[in-house]
Amino acid sequence: MNPPELKYTKEHEWARIEGNVATIGVTHFAQDSLGDVVYIDVPAAGAEVKQFAKFGEIESVKAVSDLFAPLGGRVAAVNEEAKKTPELVNKDPYGKGWLIKLELSDQSQLKHLMDAAAYTKLTASGH
């Protein structure tokens, strides 16, 4: 269920690394816990984000939750489709429901992220 090629945080974000660019989204577990997503607030292209710092908010019918950046860098692109139709996050969290793309500032930060096996284990324990 959690794609093996991605990296994960304990706050339920994922990152897909392609060269020096990381695509960021929230996990299946996150969208399932949140319920229907109704609003996404992420910074515009050009903004700087720090690893594990809050970079935006995601609102569902249940609650508003903070989004934490798996990696640090500069926002290269924002998924305007997902902002307009937030249900993409529920329907396709690892695909069309991605949130932002980051130009990474420091590849070595990758070592602080979990692989799919570790993340799956974390969510199986109920967190």
Binding site: G35, D36, V37, V38, Y39, E59, V61, K62, A63, T85, P86, E87, G126
Partner: protein
């Protein structure tokens, strides 16, 4: 299909605007007896202003039918956790409707409204006594505004001591969302402290967070998990030793009435939601009220107005208004002796200022005062005790079917987790919606957020054993339905005028304004 469905089906669902017929009026005005004035030039007039044109009877039927769709404490069991949906005794409304309360104006001078001010003064005193925090302002209009008022007091206190680096509010992860929101609005930085496995504050984590930047620690007591904080004395000491103040979110005060004074536990500031603990109406039933109570040393910062009694004048006014046959009639004061006025509105010396217009929600204050006086000290304690017994009765009757957030005796509410039900295909939302079919209001869902599939149940002291038994039986039956006929839950409610709401589309594509069809 039940009879209820048939009746609801027969109900004319059209909006008021859709019933409009051009030229129809609700009232025929008499001929004008003043000269007609020319209308302003046409470009100043708003065009396309849609107003309903409808007869008086059709309008009365429209609103009366809507009012009969209300789900209320007067019609149904309403175990909405954290909201204390207790019965609102009718005597509260009767007293608030007395002409002397109902027909006064907030701009009348103090000497014309001594009775109203006396009610406010005595309510201040009662709330000070109940909480053990004697400085009271009745001005805040809701719980969250009470929080905000309390946090402004905390800031003003630190600043008055030249301690202006204290800008952090520490708040548990189980807190009501209003706590961090109020703190942010008061200009404080919010830092979260985690909960421990027993549902209390992680004391070691708190000790690490408390320092010379701590302005205030906000704690709900009992907690939002419905649990008493076992380490409360240690917690208030940690914060005081660090130089901070401790704020009590009084949303759950109903569990403590007459049993514990929160001031004696070390809290410095608290608010109380009169519409919860003191039986005044919620929401559409009337405005709220969230008085703020503080320790004596903080009273000078209270928001204005505060009602004070002039010590010298107290005797004379009381003898004229409050005692029985042998009291000197008011008329006797006419002539030589000047009338003495006991109560007046005042501004505390270092007041954080006004937080609401005039005196706060005055008619709500009268209702809370009536409740406190009609219950008395022993009655209030008994209310708290019965609220606690009722919640534990429900918890004991359901814990084999529904998981508990924390398996401990609870206070006035119990937090269940529908995680076993979720694993079998029905979420907390489905259980809650199915309850509506049984004529029971849904519990609070998905809060506190640290509990998976939370269902927060607060029966209050008002309910009989039969009502609690029925609720337990219905909850057990719903649990059975998950395996027998899950659609009963997924499509619920079935028997109400409106079936399952599409909350996601309502939030994504809100339809906020009436538009002419066709």
């Amino acid at each position: 299909m039940t009879a209820q469905t048939t009746i609801a089906g027969a109900l004319d669902r059209r909006l008021l605007m859709d019933r409009s017929v051009p030229g129809r009026v609700a009232l025929t005005l008499p001929a004008s007896d003043v000269p007609l004035q020319a209308a302003p030039s046409a470009d100043l007039l708003r065009k396309g202003l849609d107003l309903p044109e409808i007869s008086q009877l059709d309008m009365v039927r429209y609103f009366t039918n809507l009012s009969q769709l209300n789900f209320s404490i007067d019609t149904n069991f309403y175990p909405l956790g954290s909201c204390t949906m207790k019965y609102n005794p009718k005597i509260n409304d009767e007293v608030a409707s007395l002409p002397g309360f109902r027909d006064i104006h907030p701009n009348q001078p103090d000497e014309q409204v001594q009775g109203a001010l006396r009610v406010m003064f005595e309510l201040q005193h009662a709330l000070g006594e109940i909480t053990g925090l004697p400085g009271v302002s009745l001005a805040p209009l809701a719980g969250a505004q009470g929080e905000y008022a309390g946090l402004l007091i905390a800031r003003a206190y630190h600043e008055s001591r030249g301690d202006s680096a204290r800008t952090v509010a520490i708040i548990p992860d189980s807190a009501h969302g209003t706590n961090p929101a109020s703190a942010a609005m008061a200009g404080l930085e919010v830092v979260t402290v985690p909960s421990n496995a027993q549902g209390g504050v992680d004391v070691d984590a708190l000790r690490k967070l408390a320092d010379n930047r701590t302005a205030v620690f906000m704690l709900t007591l009992p907690s939002t998990l419905g649990l008493f904080e076992m380490n409360i004395l240690e917690i208030t000491k940690i914060i005081h030793d660090a130089g901070g103040l401790v704020y009590a979110d009084g949303a759950n005060l109903n569990a403590l009435l007459g049993i514990v004074k929160i001031g004696e536990l070390g809290f410095d500031i608290c608010h109380s939601n009169l519409h919860k603990t003191f039986s005044t109406p919620h929401g559409g039933g009337g405005p709220g009220a969230g008085p703020v109570m503080v320790a004596a040393r903080l009273a000078e910062f209270l928001p204005e107005p505060v009602v004070v009694r002039e010590p010298a004048a107290a005797k004379s006014s009381l003898s004229a208004t409050s005692h029985h046959g042998d009291a000197e009639p008011v008329e006797a004061h006419h002539g030589a002796k000047p009338y003495a006025f006991a109560y007046r509105l005042s501004r505390p010396p270092k007041s954080t200022g006004k937080i609401s217009g005039f005196h706060g929600s005055f008619s709500i204050l009268v209702r809370a005062y009536t409740y406190i006086r009609s219950m008395g000290r022993d009655g209030l304690r008994s209310a708290a005790e019965n609220a606690i017994i009722n919640a534990n009765y429900i918890q004991a009757g359901l814990k084999d079917k529904y998981a508990l957030a924390v398996d401990r005796y609870c206070m006035h509410e119990t937090v269940l987790s529908a995680k076993r039900q979720h694993a079998r295909g029905a979420a907390a939302l489905d259980v809650a919606k199915r309850l509506l079919d049984y004529g029971i209001h849904a519990p609070t869902m998905y809060f506190p957020m640290i509990v998976e599939q939370a269902l927060m149940v607060e029966p209050t002291e008002s309910e009989s054993k039969e009502t609690l038994d029925n609720f337990i039986q219905v909850m057990r039956q719903i649990d059975d339905e998950i395996d027998r006929d899950p659609a009963l839950l997924h499509d619920a409610p079935h028997d109400l005028p409106v079936s399952r709401m599409d909350e996601a589309t309502a939030a994504r594509k809100p339809y906020l304004r009436w538009q002419k069809s066709g």
